[in-house]
Structures are given as C-alpha cells and as structure tokens.
Amino acid sequence: MRSMLKTSAAAFAILAASMGGASADGLTGDLKIFLDTSNPAPRATMEKMISQFQEKNPDLNIETTVIDREAYKTQIRNFLSANAPDVATWYAANRMRPYVEAGLFEDVSDLWADPAIGDNLASTKGALTIDGKQWGVPYTYYQWGVYYRKDIFDELGLSEPTTWEEEKANCQKIIDAGKKCYTIGTKFLWTAGGWFDYLNMRTNGFDFHMDLLTGNAKWTSDEVRQTFANWRELIDMGAFIDNHQTYSWQEALPFMVKGDAAAYLMGNFAVAPLRDAGLTDDQIDFYQFVEITPGVEKAEDAPTDTFHIPTNAQNKEAAREFLKFAVSPDVQTWINDGKNLGQLPVNAQSSVDSDKFLEQGFEMLSTNSPGGVAQFFDRDAPAEMAKVAMEGLQEFMVKPDNLDKILDRLDRAQTRIYK
C-alpha cells in the first residue's frame, strides 16, 4: 500500500513536471515581477530562481523589479491599481485581505485545485484562503520559538523546559545567576506581539486567539486577563532585559550574544545574525514555547511570504506558470536551503536543509502544532487594531500596573474598528 502510494505520487510528480514543461515551452510575451526581497541574500536567491525560469522559457521576456522591503508595503497600493506587474510578493492571511476585498488580487483557486499544489501545500492553504478561494501561493515560511544560549543553560544545569512551571523555575535560576532570561527590543512594537501570540495561544488556545484578533472575543474578557496575569509573572520576576522599549529587535541581539540574556523568542531569521556575531551552533539551540494551560493544543506562529497575481496583470498565463514553478518541490528545496533563504519549504515533497534549526522547526510545525498555525499578531489582526494593540502590549511590558487602562482602550478601539 505504502509503496503504491509512493509510486503514484512519483508518477504524479513526473506527470506534473512534464505537463509544466510542455506548456511552459509555449510562453511568450513579457512577464513583470515585483519583489520585496531587498536584503542581499534573499534577493540573490530570487534572481537565481527567476533566471532558472527564464532558461526554461527562453521566449519569455522577464523583467524583475526589486523594491525596498519597507517601501514596498506602501508602494504596493499604487502599483496594484495603476501599473500592475504580473507577479508580486506579499504576505498571507489578513495582510492580503484589503487587496482581495478591493478586487486587486487574482483568484488562483484553479492552481490549488491541482493536487500537486493542493495536497502538497495543504499546511499553508488556510493562510491563503479568503471566502473559500485561494488568492496566491506561498513560497517560504519560518518557525517562531525560543532560541537560547545552550552554553549558559549547561553552565547553570538547566534543560529545555516543557511546562510553564519549568520555564519559570529555569528563569529564576538564570536571574539568580545575575542574567536576564529573555532579550527583546520593543521599539517597533511587533516583538511584543510575538510574546502575546504565544502566551495567549498557550493560555487560551488557538481558536480563542483567532477570535480575539478577528474581533469576536473581547480584550476585557477573563481569558485575556489570565494571559496578561501569566505574562506579568515573568515581568515581575525581572525576566526581560531593562529598557527594551528603546531597542529594535536587532539592537536586542547583543544582550544574548554577550551572555547578559539567555534566550530570545523570535523567528528563525534571528539565527543568521546570531551566527554572524560569532555564536556557534553548539552555543545556540531552540525549543518550542512551553505548555501553559495543560490540555490546550499547541499552536505556532509561522509567518508565510507569498506570490500573487494582480487582477490587472497583463500576462496571467505566464504568471500562473511562474507560481507553479516557484512552489514545485525542487525549487522549494533549494530556495529555502541554508545557503539561500534559510527557511522552511512550503511543499511537503521538498526536503529540508540539514540545519538544526530548520529541522527542529519543520518537525515542530508538521507534528507538534495540532492547534493550528497562526501568521503573526500583526498579520492576523487588522492593521489598525494591530497597531493600537501592540502599543498597549509595549506599555504593559513597561508599566504592568496600567493594565486596566490599556484593556479599556483596546476594547474601545475594538468596537470602533470591527464594524
């Protein structure tokens, strides 16, 4: 049975590849691609991927524009309506909702109907679905979790915690040793959103968390208060570095590098700068955020980056081929390997690079996240609510006594924003 499944999967793959090849040969015209991958490494990866696609389609005239990642977030509004490319990068879930609702993204459910995509990309299908249709394809995603200094843990005789009690006991020992448990920089607010995501998902579960972020549960509810009470336990212990409101997430890295703080709740993108700063893989390690309320199914943050076809695109046929190409198993394997994006492939048929963080992340997301996969605080909540809320989270971290005021403010904002 198993072998039959395998052979049929292989046959399917070959069929899909040959079909892709056959139709790809006929692609002509221009293909305009807009990318927000402006950092040097991802940019090189994308350009390499596009040149491979070019080789397969010599008659296609591909024009690539790379826009600064931050500037892209405002420019996309203009170019989607005025001067649309054929393919554009963006983010999944609520972040794409304004463009879907304004009719600026093309419905690509037809691509997902193909089992080669629909089945192999099943883990991210939910994040690309709005109103029962799919509006783009993912090309990479990455895990969040606790990155910690293994050498400090070893020195203090600590092991990776799995429960909230163990987490706090570990933290107390770290504090007694004159260090801080966690580094964080909340100047740009979203890092505090990551902490809230995890504390709330572990305290109240994935479904409640999503209800809260989509406006169906109240910020003044007892569940949310319990989340903040848990958070406050850490704050009152002095678990976080001082003055975190002054630092960006990059500026908070040196605390961990110098050994003043033992751990960092972050996305996998934090590994590269930690390695660049001279920490070896023996010194850093990763664990899944601990269980808080026993019995609540674990859910993870795994932000997904995506490709979309604008409704006003000129060459949608070529754009669809490009999307198929980008999510195909081979391409997914190499663009996400350690030498390129260093993240997780979205295609289940791809292999994960032999990097201990990617392997642990892939394992965690595929087997130990039964509750669901969230995108991230500011991608799951509407932008306006995310902004107000993350400001409140930062204020709470600095002045936990203001909690009642903050929750009232968020409650008012919620009634105004979700109409």
Partner: protein, 305 residues
C-alpha cells in the same frame, strides 16, 4: 493680406501698450502655477478628504464630520497636540542660544572661520544623522550620557524610553542643528550692526548686558524675526527626528501631529486617509495662525517705514 497685417499691428501694439503690466505676471506664472497646483489645491483636497472614510484602495465613503468627532475622543491626538506645544515652547531656546554663540564667535582671532564652520556643522548634516547620534548618546546600556551621569553620582536614565522625558530628549537633539541655524542668522545680522551706535552707546556709559539689550538686540530685529519664523515652523514640522529616534514611542508618547498623521495615513499600519487628512487640517489651522501673525507683523512693519 492687408487685413492680416492690420490685425498684426493691432496685436503687437496691444502687447506694446500692456508690456509693463504683463511682464511681471509672465515671470510669476510658472511659480504661481506650481504653487496653486502643489500647495493651494492639495490644501482644499485635504479639507475635502477629511470628510471621507477611505483606505486608499476602495471607494471613499462620505462620513461628514465623523473623523473630527473621533479626533475629539482620541487620546493619541491629545498626546500629539501636547507634544506639539512642548516643541513650540522649548524649541524657541534655539534663538537665545544662537544669539550667544553668534556673539561669542563674532570676533577676529586666528582660525575663527574654522570655529564658525564647526559650530555650523550640525545644521549641514542630515537630521537623520543627528537623530542617530543622539540615540546612541542616550542609549541606556552603551550610551555616554549614563556614563557622565554616573560619574557625578546620578542614577542612570533611559531618556528615550521614559514617556515623561522622551519629548524633551528629542527636542534637545533638535536644538543642536536649530541653534546653528539661528547662529548663522545672527552672525550675518551682527555684520550689519552700526559701529557708530555702539560708539555712541559706549560714550553714554552702556556696557555688558545693557549694551546688548538696548543697542545690539534692537538692531538685530530682522534677524530675530527670521529666526523666530524658521524656529516655529521647524518645531511644527518636527518629524524626522521622532521617526528616527523613537518611532513615536514608547507607547506613542513622543508623537506630534505631523508624525501621527503619517502613522494614521501612510505607515505600515495606517491607510486611513480621511482620518489622516483631518489631523492634517488641524495642523494646518495651527500653522495658519502663526503664519497669519507673521504676515500681519511684517505688513505692519512695512507700513511703519
């Protein structure tokens, strides 16, 4: 044929007659057109937009004065307004500071040109760089400020992380280039001070402060006026320093109106164009108050002459 030449002569003579009146307008035309298109027209557009709810993508929905009503209940708006007032008052310190540095530098010693340019230097570098330099200066862990405070026995401070100090901290950073600007204005002003009046004052026994206040400062009136105008406008436009140094934080306590407008309308989490426009309208009305005052006092001065 004959008719055409008659028309031609009539035309050229009309041009000839009105040349004197028309030429200035022709020269002004490009400027007026640009001013109308890029300044006046957007003002009315903002007024109009502030009555709508629009995310920049879909259709705009007319909401009347709702945006202003929301402003009225918006705590963040009052924080921004309060910070704008603090900016207006404290930023004026650049004027006396600039005057004293100018007086200090207004002497002839070797290398004075070098000293003058060094004092002027902060005005030449970008505001972003000024912001970064001061951010590092204030850094609670690695910054030099806490080293200095510690050496005189004071406890460390996190200026940019404390909602009561953050605005003052940013204004101090802003004063550095603004003082240089006022200094340059006063240095040129001091060149025009009449030495005969100083001589006369000296004969009458004026010295030190009295000399400064009754003889020098009145003659620097034009420079003071310009310094006042640029400082007020500078205070109301304070944006880049806030963006670089705190991004409006901690928890929004260092925002001013211009920054809040940007956040609401144009930042990553914004795109509420109508609400942003209503903040812009409020800011415009405040600025209009000052500009009207300046224009009026300029007009009065012209008439007095």
């Amino acid at each position: 044929m004959a008719q055409a030449s008659v028309a031609e002569t009539r035309q050229s003579s009309w041009w000839h007659r009105n040349q004197q009146q028309l030429t200035p307008w022709l020269f002004l035309a490009p400027g007026i057109l640009f001013f109308l298109f890029y300044v006046i027209f957007p003002i009315f557009q903002s007024f109009n937009l502030s009555l709508f709810s629009w995310d920049g993508l879909g259709a705009a929905e007319f909401v009347g004065l709702n945006n202003y009503e929301e402003l009225y209940y918006d705590e963040a708006f009052y924080t921004s307004l309060k910070n704008n007032l603090i900016w207006l008052v404290l930023y004026l310190a650049a004027i006396p500071a600039g005057l004293f540095i100018a007086l200090f530098l207004n002497q002839t010693v070797t290398g004075i040109r070098l000293y003058k340019s060094l004092f002027f230097f902060p005005f030449v570098i970008s505001q972003v760089v000024v912001g970064l330099v001061f951010t590092w200066f204030y850094d609670p862990t690695f910054g030099i400020l806490n080293v200095v405070l510690g050496s005189v026995g004071l406890p460390p401070m996190n200026i940019l992380g404390d909602e009561n100090w953050v605005t003052i901290g940013i204004i101090v950073a802003g004063l550095w280039p603004q003082t240089a600007y006022c200094m340059i204005l006063y240095l040129t002003g001091l060149n025009a001070v009449d030495p005969e009046q100083i001589e006369a004052g000296r004969l009458d026994g004026a010295k030190g402060w009295r000399m400064l206040w009754y003889i020098i400062v009145p003659q620097l009136r034009p420079a003071t006026f310009i310094a006042f105008v640029v400082t007020i406008i500078g205070a109301l436009r304070s944006f880049d320093l806030i963006s670089v140094m705190t991004n409006g934080g901690p928890f929004g306590s260092s925002r001013v109106l211009s920054f809040y407008m940007f956040e609401v309308a144009l930042s990553e989490y914004g795109f509420r164009m109508g609400y942003g426009a209503s903040i812009a309208v409020v800011l415009f009305l405040i600025m209009l108050g000052f500009i009207a005052y300046f224009l009026w006092s300029m007009y009065k001065e012209e008439r007095a002459r």
